[in-house]
Amino acid sequence: MSRLTPQNEAIALEIISRYPRKKSALIPLLHLAQEQDGYVSDDAMRHLAELVEVTPAEVIGTCSFYEMFKREPVGTYLVNICTNIACQLLGAEELLHHAEHALGIKAGNTTSDGLFTIEDVECIAACTEAPCLTVNYRYFYKVDGGDFDAIVEDLRSGRQPTRKAAETGPDGHIPPHGTLALQRQHIPADRVAGNADPDSAPAPAWLEQP
């Protein structure tokens, strides 16, 4: 697919400016590319390499280490079902099997209409609400087979799922795969303290000097 759009490139430059060294921005920028295209394309990675001044090989080196980055398109809705220990004890594997049967795919695959991808994932820090899943990283707690079917049905028909949705966006909206935070950090120019350059930053002004 594509390089970053001019609008996203501006966001990328703002993100880069917050780090003393450009490469530090790489993971947030890979997310930005994934937000734009739904996955991280080769062209986008080449563009990021230019922006942070490393080789494309270094970008793919970082990208390929992290599970959230998809280098091929996935479903509009990425359904991550936790099967780690706390969830397993309360029926997560049964839930995963139900999901696989309901959608007719094994974990790791995408439905032929391109709507759903299921993944069998590790602990998502909602262990007391087991079994749980996320759809595009929005949480659903204490999910059973019926809940799963209702969520899928809602999303298929273009409705926002209400059943068991915990803490989605302000309007219960689930954005397409790739969008994480709904708001970004902006440091106003008149408030910024400035990066601490590892090579030349002075002693902090507020420390009592001996």
Binding site: R18, Y19, P20, K23, S24, A25, L26, I27, P28, H31, V52, V54, G61, T62, F65, Y66, E67, M68, F69, N80, T83, N84, I85, A86, Q88, L89, E122, C123, I124, A125, A126, C127, T128, A130, T134, Y137, R138, Y139, E167, T179, L180, Q183, Q185, H186, I187, P188, D190, R191, V192, A193, N195, A196, D197, P198, A201, P204, A205, W206, L207, E208
Partner: protein
């Protein structure tokens, strides 16, 4: 008598708008920062040291002492906030970031002020979209209100807090891997010792890495003073701690309890907490401190939630994650699931972990599937011994004459992830060996395997 409930870090959770600046300010938010700015940085540091604020990320190292390890005269120093919470069973940092981001921001500011840290990077786990949103909004509001950035509240204290987010890799929670990741690299741990991040960290400069819950305590400590803070909890583990209790209890949940004085039994059985085992079942085992910790049993229930006695008894409090298994639990299956996690999450940098964790999973899987070999149990222990040589930490089992082996384990690996995979193996085999043997004896399962026999894990 169960120690009374005090809420030091979860006090705002009761409000639906707990994450807003307005609610925070209306309920004492940023008062700790204001007070700190009237004190010298050294005095603030001393107050935190006196409070014995133990790290809540896993290792339990006192924050005030860690801050003192930065080499004098080397600038800049950085603060990296560890919000990568992904240890199996752990669920409290996400809550603290989603529900009270200003409390965390205030803690970051106090740490930077006291320890002379010039820039702060707040690293949130990639999967936590809501936490990222809430912290971003909170930072924007806090900048606008003059709490963060240049000349904080008109003082000569200036620091930026930069929101950073990960992309899915458990190992990045380890502090040196976190730093690698923040430099834009593959998140693989660095060898330590000799150099710890406090001496050589981000960009090769002194770096303090602290957990979200650790930092969230700072505002309260400065407002109350260390003397009052130490009235809660025990002498060596003051204050409170958040514990996520999951699995087969009647009321799973995240509970803030007094540190060091509350016992496992109280937390698991008291009606004000988890209310006992579900369905009137019996306790079989529990994981006391996240997937990496050796298992405890009935006999360990009366231990206090305090690092030292728990370590002496063969496990660790770790990340405040208790997973309870009742007597319907298949020990082999539970063990396999935890081991599979470490096999999947090994970063691959060192051989005993990369190869060993995969072998542990392979052998356990075949035992579970009914194709185990009689030599497999010894082989599991042998593979474990290659990752973590010598007696592995374990709970005592008086009925069988087994003494406790104290924590921590030895390691042939770069970081503790490899040895963590051995914890469930040694725990389950030591206590439930007949279950492993029974599955191996049953290995007459024929081909083709009938559906109900090929239980998927």
């Amino acid at each position: 008598m169960t120690a009374p409930i005090v809420q030091l870090v979860s006090s705002r959770f009761q409000y639906p708008d707990s994450f807003t600046l307005a609610r925070s300010e209306a309920t004492g938010g940023y008062q700790g920062l204001r007070k700190a700015l009237t004190m010298t940085p050294t005095a603030v540091h001393d107050e935190v040291k006196a409070a014995t604020l133990l790290g809540r990320g896993g290792a339990g190292f006192p924050a005030g002492v860690k801050w003192g390890f930065t080499p004098p005269g080397v600038w800049p120093r950085y603060l990296v906030v560890n919000g990568d919470e992904s240890e199996p069973g752990t669920y409290k940092d996400r809550l603290l970031m989603e529900r009270d981001p200003h409390q965390l921001i205030e803690g970051c500011l106090i740490a930077c002020y006291a320890a002379g840290l010039s820039q702060c990077f707040l690293y949130i786990r990639g999967e936590m979209a809501l936490a990222q949103t809430r912290v971003a909004v909170a930072l924007n509001d806090a900048y606008a209100a003059g709490y963060v950035g240049r000349n904080v509240l008109g003082s000569n204290f200036s620091v930026d807090i930069v929101l950073h987010w990960g992309a899915g890799a458990y190992i990045v929670g380890e502090e040196t891997a976190l730093i690698e990741s923040l430099e834009g690299n593959r998140g693989m741990p660095r060898l330590k010792p000799p150099f710890f991040p406090a001496a050589i960290g981000l960009y090769g400069k002194p770096t303090i890495v602290n957990n979200v819950e650790t930092l969230s305590n700072l505002g309260g400590i400065i407002v109350r003073g260390s003397e009052e803070y130490k009235q809660y909890g025990s002498e060596t583990s003051p204050g409170t701690r958040m514990f996520a209790v999951s699995g087969h209890v009647r009321r799973p949940g995240v509970y803030e309890v007094q540190h060091g004085v509350t016992t496992f039994r109280e937390l698991l059985y008291d009606d004000q907490f988890c209310g006992g085992i579900r369905d009137g079942n019996q306790l079989k085992a529990f994981i006391p401190g996240g997937g990496s910790s050796p298992w405890f049993f009935e006999e360990q229930l009366d231990l206090p939630l305090e690092a030292r006695p728990v370590g002496g008894a063969g496990s660790m409090l770790g990340s405040g994650a208790i997973v309870v298994m009742d007597d319907t639990t298949d020990a082999v299956k539970a063990c396999l699931r935890v081991v599979r996690f470490y096999a999947r999450e090994s970063c691959g940098k060192c051989t005993p972990c990369r190869e060993g964790t995969s072998w542990l999973e392979t052998i356990l899987q075949r035992i579970f599937d009914g194709h185990g070999r009689p030599s497999d149990i010894d082989m599991l222990l042998d593979v474990g011994d290659n990752i973590s040589p010598g007696p592995y930490p374990a709970a005592s089992w008086e009925a069988e004459g087994l003494a406790a082996v104290p924590f921590p384990p030895k390691q042939t690996t770069i970081c503790p992830l490899g040895p963590s995979a051995v914890a469930p193996v040694v725990s389950a085999i030591r206590r439930f060996r007949p279950e492993f043997e029974a599955k191996i004896r049953r290995r007459a399962i024929g081909i083709p395997v009938r559906v109900e026999e090929s239980t998927h894990v």
